[in-house]
Amino acid sequence: MNEKTTAFAWPYPDPEGWFGPYGGKFVPETLMPALEELEAAYRAAREDAAFQKEFDDLLRTYVGRPTPVTYARRLSEHLGGAHIYLKREDLAHSGAHKINNALGQALLARRMGKHRIIAETGAGQHGVATATVAALLGLECVIYMGMVDMERQRPNVFRMELLGARVQPVDAGSRTLKDAINEAIRDWVTNVRTTHYLLGSALGPHPYPMIVRDFQSVIGREARAQMLEQVGRLPDTVIACVGGGSNAIGIFSAFIEDEGVRLIGVEAGGRGIETGEHAARFADPQRARLGVLHGTKSYVLQTPDGQIALTHSVSAGLDYASVGPEHALLREVGRAEYTYATDDEALDAFRTLARFEGIIPALESAHAVAHAIKLAPTLPRDHIILVNLSGRGDKDLETVRGTLNL
């Protein structure tokens, strides 16, 4: 299986920024020229060997790429079924995959002559990654973060401040990721001439879903080559957690055209779908319908009257009412499937991975691990599962200590 077995064409987004019926640009007019400028700058950078070389060099010498693929031997033996491999984004500098995109966009911002960057953060991982690259490149940095999230991710707030960023508390609405994005967009509308909005997930208006995917695609490219080198073949199943969906699209993108590889995204099931307290956009057709949030058309958890619903997840990074438009299309055409793990399942997986492999995953990534734990025993011994371990769990220790009896 060294060669691609089929040519599953994936020509998305189209020139207008659509992934089939999903995506597009739904923003105030003030931002439309900035999106056009960003797209032009990105397309030029993509063709520019010097830009790509600087990005690749920094990924290697600063981020620490390639990140390894680890065989989870004890966990696989314990479960007795498929072999589980982990793509170790938790070992990337600053502790999660978020740095790949943050670095790429910060280089792009500098190229556009914008020396102030703003970002939203939920779990704090994207905020930390952005603050990190801002320090590296000498850019001014403001991070918007909901007050609820600041409370549950205190260590990351301190890290961002230590890195020289200003953390701006957001007291509006549900005071979580959704509101942090609202405030970041309001800042961008006001300061668009001097400021780049460093959006952290594969959502928002075009060209963001494309740019974020492309900068995260290094995860999949590396993992695909590593599987071929270490195991001699491609994985049968690739599993990743999906909030906005950047780590998932990053790893999926390299396998989309390998039609034999099953792609599974895992959403936050919260306290259970039936409770309504979750962030599972694909699992709850009563509450999630086609809608527009933060500049993109996709599945959105909302009221019957089109107001954005409040969501819940134990992991702040998955606690979001919409999902990246490319995932909506991958699901619609049947190329990827989506399921969910509840808070309790994620917390169990968090503990299990720590005990069996000596790896403490981020609570977000623990959702992907939880599904692998569910799936592996049902599969034969020659089946290979690759899990994207998108981040490490240091930031979650306080949260978990409150919920686990160790």
């Binding site: 739904f26 923003v27 003030t30 900035a34 668009v192 527009v292 949030l293 500049g295 107001q307």
Partner: protein
């Protein structure tokens, strides 16, 4: 039969121009601080001399709005205000004899949830005259669809332009607009400000080169002296947050009426202007 839709909007601007005024265009939110009060505020705005009213449709995540309009939307939603309530409000105002244009202003998702085609039909039936949707650019697929559906029902479709808009985007808006074009005065969000941006006249002139449609200016216009200045350079003056923030006063209807009368007077063009010089 009186004018409706686009024709009513055109008539309102033409009348104001004939009378040597810029159109006074207040904005207020349905359901804030409660549904009944908001209906009374809209009626008071009409009585106080508004030429056109922007009827605000509350949304949970109003990303082009400052704190005042965010708060108003939150309170309206806490009261359970729906798109249906907004349409009913329009119908009630028509029943109370309000004849000026009523243009619905709101974000796209609640309209999408209602169903844009059904919404245009119901809005026209209720007596509304058009739509302003700040997060729906006229050249995005959905924007083109909504523009066509508005046209089918004779409703105005009002695109926005901003100081950052390129010449190409000004042309796009000029082609798509029916009724008037809404110029966002500042690079920023809604909210009362102390002074107008210095480059406003140049911005209006830049758009004027591309269209004969009325140009209304909004965002940040809070005081009669602002309205007076904008009336000299544009065809319409939008005042939102400065009125909305009166909604929590003890007597919101009285407070709004008093400010609206002042603002309406301020849009009368007393000094010699280009328009005046032609007469």
């Amino acid at each position: 039969m009186p004018d409706t839709g686009i024709a009513r909007v055109e008539t309102a601007f033409a009348r104001a121009r004939r009378q040597g005024r810029a159109a006074f265009m207040p904005y207020y939110v349905v359901g804030y601080p409660d549904l009944e009060t908001s209906v009374a505020v809209f009626k008071a705005l009409a009585d106080a001399g508004a030429d056109l009213i922007e009827v605000g449709v509350p949304f949970s995540d109003p990303l082009a709005d400052g704190p005042t309009n965010q708060m108003a939307a939150q309170i309206a939603l806490r009261n359970g205000t729906t798109v249906r309530d907004v349409l009913d409000t329009v119908a009630r105002l028509r029943a109370q004899g309000v004849t000026i244009p009523l243009v619905l202003m709101g974000y796209y998702n609640p309209f999408l949830a209602y169903g844009v085609e059904v919404l245009c039909r119901d809005a026209a039936a209720a007596g509304a005259d058009g739509f302003i949707v700040p997060d729906l650019p006229p050249d995005v697929r959905d924007g083109e669809e909504m523009r066509d559906l508005c046209a089918k029902h004779g409703l105005a479709f009002v695109p926005l332009l901003a100081p950052t808009s390129t010449e190409a985007r000004v042309r796009v808006a000029a082609r798509a607009a029916r009724g008037f074009i809404y110029l966002v005065s500042v690079t920023g969000i809604t909210g009362a400000r102390d002074r107008l941006p210095p480059d406003l006249a140049a911005f209006v002139a830049r758009v004027r080169k591309h269209t004969d449609l009325p140009l209304a200016v909004g965002f940040g216009i809070a005081r009669p002296e602002h309205a007076r200045q904008v009336a000299r350079i544009a065809d319409g003056v939008v005042v939102g947050s400065a009125i909305v923030r009166l909604g929590l006063r003890d007597d919101p209807v009285g407070a709004v009426r008093a400010l609206a009368q002042e603002l309406a007077e301020a849009t009368e063009i007393v000094e010699t202007t280009v328009a005046g010089a032609e007469q």
